[in-house]
Amino acid sequence: MSLAAITRATLAKDLRLEWRSRDAINSMLFFALLVVVVFSFSFDPNAEESRQIAGGLVWVAFLFAAVVALNQTWARELRNQVLDAFRVSPAPANSLFLAKALGNFIFVCVLEALMTPLFVVFYKLRALGPAWQLIPVAVLGTWALVVNGTFFAAMSIRTRSREIMLPLLLFPISIPAILAMVNATTAILTGELSAWFWLVLLATYDVVFTIACLLLFETVLHAE
């Protein structure tokens, strides 16, 4: 079987499992909702202020919620030694990684699509810049979080207190990506600056770390 076929099969399996259990998406959604509510009444901004801070709030909420999903990525495969079975199979390791990363990408995108209307309502948001640019920001930004998150989740399953370890590894490395997402979003919402530079930076980050993950994943998968 080719890399694409195995990726598709693994992804389909994960999506089906998630569709039936809705473990990851429910916990993420509720968590993000809590963050939105707490932020909303602790700041209570007017429309002008919220344009300035919403970029940061939105992405912090999505980042924390994404960690909830990322932590569950490999847990299912540890039960019943699925990961060991995968290791001894001739399937390319990267197909597993791509399937997991794409699965997480889809979960986080669904979360964003559901949470964005809530943000708009709670923070009285209206973009003064070109709002369609928020879509590439969301796509590139989500991939930036998810690709490294999936990789570091595979590393943190080999540690004690693994749920804590993932954000400790992920956040320092993600700082440029988070900076880019937040600034791009703020630039679009306030309409004062162009978001292009941040989009280019996000795209560079995505390319660099996707390649790094694909090159190193096999090594990490086989490190027991």
Partner: protein, 229 residues
């Protein structure tokens, strides 16, 4: 080698005290900043030493990923630990100087922020090593070191742009430096490098011993049931 260590330690101590004297007494007092400027002789050499150690850590990690050599892994552990110590010195002495000179403790300037992010990455590196339960810890750590090295230019570039788009509160550095000051700075750097090398050396020996003890214990526990028979 064993005898060389105390000799090197004594030499380092002498060099450090001489550099301390030069920095605190012999160096000319800076015109506008006064004596506060003397922290520069500790701040800058610590920064250079820390960056050098992180560079060695990266090289050792890549060597480990390619060759799986134990020596490379020990070098990586040692340089990361000592590098974090020196980086902490940089992050502490920086604000101490900035407060009287700039009037603020901290600014999100590109160099400050990149150093902070570098420190965060290496603290997470050490935490991964500490919390790992895998027998392949060196491998995971080496992979993380590679990610960190890829991240640094992106951090630097993004913050550089981020800050130049906004008015900068203060710009440190630049301008010319008194040749005597430069001389003392370099002297201090050499002293700090010797000091760092000394700690790394002793830590390296310790780590070697620790691993030997672990291996021996593992072997002994394998052999014991047989000797009972």
């Amino acid at each position: 080698m064993k005898r060389a260590f105390p000799i090197f330690a004594v030499l380092t101590a002498l060099l450090l005290s001489y550099a301390l004297y030069e920095a605190l007494v012999a160096a000319p007092t800076e015109k506008t900043m006064g004596d506060v400027q003397r922290i520069f002789y500790y701040h800058v050499p610590s920064a250079w030493t820390a960056f050098l150690l992180f560079l060695i850590n990266f090289v050792a990690s890549v060597v480990y990923l390619i060759r799986r050599s134990h020596t490379a892994d020990i070098v990586a552990v040692v340089t990361a630990e000592v590098g974090v110590v020196f980086c902490t010195v940089v992050l502490v002495t920086g604000p101490l100087w900035a407060r009287p000179v700039w009037g603020i403790w901290w600014t999100w300037d590109v160099r400050l922020t990149s150093t902070l992010v570098l420190w965060l990455i290496y603290v997470s590196y050490l935490m991964l090593r500490r919390f790992s339960t895998s027998s392949q810890t060196p491998l995971l750590a080496a992979a993380l070191a590679v990610f960190g090295a890829l991240d640094v230019p992106l951090v630097y570039f993004s913050i550089w742009i981020f800050r130049t788009q906004h008015p900068q509160p203060v710009i440190g550095g630049g301008g010319s430096i008194d040749p005597r000051m430069l001389h003392i700075l370099l002297l201090n750097w050499v002293a700090f490098l010797c000091f760092a090398a000394l700690i790394c050396w002793s830590r390296y020996r310790l780590e070697r011993l620790r691993r030997e003890v672990e291996e021996t214990q593992a072997l002994e526990s394998l052999l014991e049931p047989r000797s009972l028979r």
